[in-house]
């Protein structure tokens, strides 16, 4: 955990001991805390995925009861979304945004501390529901009413409180990022000169501020329906169960872009570095990101094509949804054009970034297929959608986070990552993740619904293949933990520049980055 403790020639260094981490207002310390929290959650959520894949290894009920199986799918989703991917992205933002825009720290350092320290409590509360009477939430990470209200276990109230706390944390983190980007840029760093990672996070922060309160509204209505006699989502009391889905997906659809936009930013940093060529179409990348963010608000009901919407509504949401393919395609084309006639080398971060481009594209195409409403009447709620969103969130968002870790670890720790180990991790992961998720396309098309603990016999073969891939992919991430710890402990000394083709302010400071950087603002030309 001593990522930023050494090399502090000028100025007060990092305090030592536990209180350093509890009281810290340093963006690098807080970034480290976020990243470790996310990693722990990744392993916990991953362990739940292993339970799911073990139960689905064969038809029949072997390992867990159906109720506990539903708890596992629910908690796996919640922990991966709110505990792993989002905090990891915030951790990257904390470490990198100040260094990339030449700021000494985040604009609101005390709030930064608070927004992190809410997380472990929210996470613990969420996980503690597993040990409560009646078990944890078992209604899917989308917690549709009335299964999550009238028919849910008592622990649901703790789940609601945990979601509120996670929301506070995200909103505060976003305010901080917006304030930092708007106020703390070094002289000469105009908005259109900002690194793309900063841009994507800046736009993501607005999405978060817009939709986290909507999620809070949804869970608050659940809370009052459950405990105070209201009937927002209860048809018997004059309420509307479909209203829940509208409110949830108004949050939920921007939420998926919240998880992927910073990933786009990471990839847009890595590819130019290793292609030794400037990012192609910088300004169109910024506009494409903004377009995707805008579109994310007006397409949400494509998650609800089978709820009995009027045809006009289905047509509108279908047209709007497939339009997202345009800015997304522009992004993929721009990455391709950046690589075209570059001078590429394939260090570990570049391998992960290239895998991202290939595999995210596959996830994007299945997304397009599901945007076509009549076909979605078949795809909806099957393993096809499970395959789709794992391609965009695992080989998309998670791969980008891992790529970012390999890319910036030398800057954070002062040690180069052992390339051999990094490459083993890469090939192990990229093969197993496809064995894990690609067959799920087949299962979904052939008619296997999602969220079932047991299945009819025609699905047995592909489920077994998928489970084997799952176990291998899970183990690969434990290996990643080993690689990270080894890099923190030692390894070849990193230079300030680290990567030959890297550009940007973070590469002008020594490695590891001193505890305080850019106390005097650099001049950007």
């Amino acid at each position: 955990m001593s990522t930023a403790t050494t090399h502090d020639e000028h100025h007060h260094g990092a305090p030592s001991g536990l209180m350093r981490w509890i009281k810290t207002t340093n963006h690098k310390d807080i970034g480290t805390l976020y990243l470790w929290f996310a990693f722990i959650m990744l392993l916990i959520g991953g362990a739940m995925a292993m339970v799911i894949r073990a139960e689905l290894f064969q038809p029949g009920l072997q390992i867990v009861e159906p109720q506990f199986f539903n708890t596992m799918t629910t908690m796996h989703g919640l922990i991966m979304v709110f505990g792993a991917i989002m905090p990891a992205m915030v951790g990257l933002a904390n470490w990198q945004i100040p260094m990339m825009i030449g700021a000494p720290d985040m604009a609101l350092p005390r709030m930064n501390n608070w927004s992190f320290w809410i997380l472990p409590f929210a996470g613990t509360m969420l996980i503690s529901t597993l040990f409560m009477e009646g078990g944890g939430p078992a209604f899917g990470w989308t917690f549709y009413a009335p299964l999550s209200t009238t028919f849910a276990p008592k622990s649901t109230d703790f789940f609601i409180f945990a979601v509120h706390m996670l929301g506070f944390s995200s909103i505060m983190g976003s305010i901080n990022i917006i304030a930092t980007v708007l106020n703390m840029r070094a002289p000469g760093m105009t908005l259109m000169k900002m690194p793309l990672f900063v841009w994507t996070w800046f736009i993501t922060a607005f999405l978060l501020i817009a939709v986290m309160p909507v999620l809070a509204g949804a869970v608050t209505m659940m809370l009052t329906d459950r405990n105070f006699g209201t009937s927002f989502f209860s048809a018997a009391g004059g309420g509307d169960p479909v209203l829940f889905q509208h409110v949830f997906w108004f949050f939920g659809h921007p939420e998926v872009y919240i998880m992927i936009l910073p990933a786009f930013g990471v990839i847009s940093e890595i590819i130019p570095t290793f292609a030794r060529k400037k990012l192609f179409g910088y300004s169109s990348m910024v506009y494409a990101t903004a377009s995707i963010a805008f579109l994310s608000f007006i397409v949400y009901a494509h998650h609800m094509f089978t709820t009995g919407m009027p045809v006009a509504g289905e047509l509108y949401f279908m047209y709007a949804t497939v339009m997202i393919a345009v800015p997304t395609a522009v992004k993929v084309f721009n990455w391709t054009a950046t690589m075209w006639r570059g001078s590429m080398t394939f260090e570990t971060p570049m391998l992960w970034a290239i895998a991202f481009v290939f595999l995210f594209t596959i996830g994007g195409f299945t997304g397009l297929m599901m945007g076509v409403a009549p076909a979605d009447m078949q795809y909806h709620d099957t393993y096809f959608i499970v395959a789709h969103f794992h391609y965009v969130l695992v080989t998309g968002a998670l791969f980008a986070i891992i790529a970012a870790a390999y890319y910036w670890l030398p800057k954070w720790t002062g040690h180069m990552v052992d390339e051999k180990l990094g490459k083993i991790h890469f090939w192990w992961s990229v093969i197993s993740v496809n064995v894990l998720f690609f067959p799920q396309h087949f299962l979904g098309l052939a008619g296997m619904p999602r969220r079932i603990p047991d299945y009819s016999l025609q699905f047995a073969d592909w489920n077994m293949v998928s489970s084997i891939g799952g176990f291998a992919f899970g183990l690969a991430q434990v290996f990643f933990l080993y690689v990270v710890i080894r890099t923190i402990r030692g390894g070849e000394k990193a230079t300030g520049q680290v990567w030959e083709g890297a550009h940007g302010l973070e590469w002008t400071v020594p490695s590891p980055a001193p505890y305080h950087t850019f106390e005097t603002a650099p001049e950007v030309k």
Partner: protein, 377 residues
Amino acid sequence: MFANTLRRTLGSLWGAAILLVAGNAFAGFSDTLNLRQGATDISHKVYNLHMMVFWICVVVCVSVFAVLIYSIMNHRKSKGAVPASFHESTTVEIIWTTIPFLVLVGMAVPATTTLLALEDTRDSDMSIQITGYQWKWKYDYLDEDISFFSVLTTPSEQIEGAAEKGEHYLLEVDNPIVVPIKKKIRFLITSNDVIHSWWVPDLGWKQDAIPGFINDAWTELDKPGLYRGKCAELCGKGHGFMPIVLIAKTEEDYAAWVAEQKGAKAAEAEAAGKTWTKDELIAKGEQVYKTNCVACHQANGQGIPGVFPALAGSAIATGDIAGHMNIVLHGKPGTAMQAFGAQLNDVDLAAVITFERNSFGNNKGDMVQPSEIAAAR
């Protein structure tokens, strides 16, 4: 016509390609690769749309990947590549924004016509109401006086691995929904508790069953046949265990089935009139318990602590018989305990209550006659 043939050919090529990759070790791999073409005009339209969009995606994907792979192979530092300096071009950006847009417009046209056909429930010949329950389906034939529940029949021994799994494991029910062919059938779909989703893949669509809402959908089958499906929306712990079996019959066979259903109803009324012995009631009650109660209260009557209460030694099942009848008949609002008065007939209710009072160590020794249930309704 040519386009359809081409699509089918390409569809089988795709299947064949995957087969080679998978090595065809088991037949199961190849049976479960693609969407089913289904049995109706709509399901064929949906399938063709699916294949069209799929091939557009494959073509674009392969083109982009080809460029990427070419670049990765050739534009490497190790091959002495020198980076070019170009990094923007408004013309290129406009071109690759416009082309995907036009492709999407091309896709939207058949998608729109298919959607409009799929949602057009006008001019139907008959209506069947489908109601989702935790965890079974109820079918009400609105034009006939026919109404029944449809429950999974796969024995729990097969699920728990104590017996070999049958061919239609988790896809078999006691009372399938029966429909005539060559009639436009409108389904009115709703739910009694949480949201379910009624899905027979061969019909080409699924439709959510939502409490307080009535959604509609339709189908028209050309040939007699048997089609299987499942609940597609998470509805609690029995979500994986509420399949659908739909049987399409010719008009004569369907008429015979309707007559048979009506005859069964008369026999049922007769059974309710006679006086049953305690052993008869317990034996029948055990069957009723296995189909309707076991999912929550469990085979040993212990329930699931904190979620579903135990019947063994419970105050209700060992207390006043009127209270026991009341909760089974009317349910407990706000909980998963449904009002079984609306679901089961007098004989079944009398039998299951008698069974519960004389099992799991509840040795009450008393019994309920169907006539008493009728009086308590």
